[in-house]
């Protein structure tokens, strides 16, 4: 029995199977449903805007998780395919350098930030657990050691690595903007601060991110545990007790059937059905009546209810008449299974109780049978409905109960059905 967890809406994941670098472009392409080449080209073009493409790629790489379920080591990157993109990237950069010979302050800052982001992104990225495993298996085990999270030394190394990159960026910025004028000095200070801040953020980011992920998975685990406990309690209270009773009454077929049937119904309701109050809803009331008859007479009632509505006095009378018909079938027909079909339509509510049992001749029996006359026919008449009984000896019996709903009912049938 699989649990009924609703599937997540589609999320952005990195695709590990079609990747060139880290699968960012493939993941985005899959998410948006466009060819992967376009995404890659877009990244390359953005590279021309002061390295924006690289920056974006690094950001996606760092933040977007690999697709869950892709636990197997991904296939090796196709270097031959990657090469053109590298060349294109270099070309774009070259173009930018040529076009804007004097790169300018903003351009340089952009480049440095891009370098910092890439460096930190690499470190960050490798701290993922599946990546660590992959590095551990690969030909460069020392790299695996560097990014081993449980190792304290590795953590320090990573921190220092990130720190060095950040420092390089800051020094670079400082070297480029050797203070000459007042305004530039202020601007430089601001850029310094921003770059430093970004560096610190990039270095501490993975720790925060991991903590958050851990918290989330812990919470999910707790919810699962709670569900399991609830299920265990239900199984203990009902199923085990029923099984024990069945073992002790193994020779009494009727009792065993009754117990098994009752337990089956209760489990079924618990697993598949949203609970509804039998005093308010027609379908729930009918099902309760069917359940009572099943329990009392150890038969099976195959109940099928189409549509639903609120109950009122008249609908309640229909349910009561249906119950009486079920009891009659259980008592006199001598069968194991009785069919109950009910349908709620805008203009009427109907119920049919059918068995394939002995049957009887209605003309001869009806006069001195108060159950049928009073509880079924009379009750339906009093509430403005009608009852028909069709029976032939040997062919079984069908009781048809029909209750018209007047226009003043304001079509509650269809609306009730919708907000079920």
């Amino acid at each position: 029995m699989s649990s009924t967890v609703t599937p997540h809406p589609p999320r952005l994941y990195r695709a590990t199977e079609h990747r060139l670098a880290a699968g960012v472009a493939a993941g985005i392409a899959e998410h948006l449903g466009i060819p992967v080449l376009r995404v890659r080209v877009a990244f390359m073009v953005l590279l021309g805007l002061s390295g924006l493409g690289l920056l974006l790629y690094a950001a996606f790489w760092a933040v977007v998780p690999p697709r869950p379920g892709d636990t197997a080591a991904p296939p090796r990157r196709d270097l031959a395919q990657l090469l053109p993109f590298v060349v294109i990237g270099l070309g774009v950069l070259l173009l930018q350098v040529v076009a804007f010979d004097s790169v300018g302050a903003a351009g340089t800052a952009g480049w440095l930030v891009a370098i910092i982001a890439v460096g930190a992104g690499v470190i960050w990225h490798q701290s993922g657990p599946e990546r660590r495993r992959q590095w551990g298996d690969s030909a460069v085990p020392w790299l695996g050691a560097v990014v081993e999270e449980s190792d304290r030394r590795a953590f320090v190394l990573r921190f220092i690595g990130g720190g060095v990159l950040v420092a390089v960026g800051i020094i670079g910025v400082a070297a480029v903007y050797s203070p000459a004028q007042n305004f530039d000095a202020v601007l430089n200070g601001v850029i310094f601060a921003l770059v430093g801040l970004a560096g610190v953020g990039v270095v501490t980011g993975p720790v925060l991110w991991r903590t958050w992920t851990q918290l989330r998975s812990e919470r999910e685990g707790r919810i699962r545990e709670q569900e399991r406990a609830e299920l265990a309690a239900m199984v203990h209270d009902q199923v085990l007790h029923t099984l024990a009773l069945i073992q002790r009454n193994a020779s009494d077929v009727k009792t065993v059937q009754r117990l098994a049937r009752g337990q089956e119904r209760s489990l079924r309701n618990w697993l598949y059905k949203p609970a509804a109050s039998p005093t308010e809803r027609f379908a729930a009331a009918l099902e309760q009546a069917a359940a009572e008859v099943e329990d009392t007479f150890a038969i099976t009632v195959e109940a099928v209810v189409v549509g639903d509505r609120e109950t009122d006095e008249r609908v309640g009378a229909l349910v009561a008449a249906t119950r009486e018909a079920l009891v009659n079938a259980a008592r006199h027909a001598g069968v194991q299974t009785v069919s109950l079909y009910a349908e709620v339509e805008p203009e009427q509510v109907s119920a049919f109780v059918r068995d394939r049992g002995k049957g009887f001749d209605p003309d001869t029996v009806e006069n001195h049978r108060h159950g049928v006359r009073g509880s079924i026919i009379g009750r339906m008449k009093r509430h403005g409905g009608r009852a028909e009984i069709r029976s032939e000896p040997g062919e079984g019996t069908e009781v048809r109960l029909i209750l018209p709903i007047s226009g003043s009912g304001s079509g509650s049938g269809s609306t009730a059905e919708r907000d079920r």
């Binding site: 699989s2 697993l271 598949y272 189409v306 049919f352 069908e398």
Partner: protein, 225 residues
């Protein structure tokens, strides 16, 4: 399905070749014992992957398919087999009679749906009917279909020909839901059994082809998705 008599006009032939897919070994053993010599059980599988491989190898007439299995369930088997082996018929045999399971399997291409409490005679009959190309509807399934196709005045209908049941089909389904056997339905409506079977098959086809919007709305109304 409460039908004691075999379908009339079923041509005599060798025992039907049946394949069981269920993750519970005890249940498989039970069904195998119950079916006995009435059909030939050519194989069993307990997982989706095993089922796909072995059904392709044994080429049975009918596959009895469980809905809930750990790795994707009956739906995964159906989706894997339907295109490559269209001649294999699938009959869902599940302990679950929840609406979303029933409708889901039928839409994936199962030719019928019965619950595990079915008697051996009825199961054999259902297998034979599915093998003959008919649809097997339990009263409960008929109820679900009526519910799914219940006329809603405000619902947009993309293709009325496809998505709506004809009055006759509705009548047949109602009688099915009321526990009538095909023969009794034929008598009640003054039509032949063959016509009843045609109507039921058409309903099944419509269910498989009816537009996605309508059914997903129906499921959402009942908080099934």
């Amino acid at each position: 399905m409460s039908e004691q008599e075999p379908v009339e006009g079923a041509a005599p032939r060798g025992p039907l070749r049946v394949f069981l897919v269920d993750d519970h070994a005890m249940f498989r053993a039970g069904v195998r014992a119950e079916l006995g010599t009435r059909v030939e059980v050519v194989g069993e599988a307990s997982s989706v992957a095993e089922a796909v491989a072995r059904i392709a190898a044994t080429q049975p007439d009918v596959v009895l398919l469980d809905v809930h299995m750990p790795d994707g369930g009956g739906r995964a088997v159906l989706e894997a087999m339907r295109r490559t082996h269209p001649q294999v018929k699938f009959l869902a045999l599940s302990v679950s009679d929840a609406a979303e399971d029933v409708i889901g399997l039928i839409r994936a291409g199962a030719r019928g749906y019965v619950t595990k409490t079915i008697s051996p005679e009825e199961l054999t009959d259902a297998i034979r009917r599915v093998a003959d190309g008919d649809a097997v509807f339990s009263p409960r399934l008929a109820g679900f279909v009526l519910d799914a196709f219940a006329s809603r005045p405000d619902a947009p209908v993309a293709d009325p020909e496809l998505d709506q049941l004809t009055n006759r089909e509705r009548e047949v389904l109602r009688l099915l839901a009321r526990g009538y056997a095909y023969k009794e339905i034929a008598k009640e409506l003054f039509i032949s059994i063959k016509t009843v079977e045609t109507h039921v098959s058409n309903v099944l086809r419509k269910l498989q082809m009816s537009n996605r919007y309508e059914l997903s709305r129906w499921a959402a109304d009942r908080r099934l998705v």
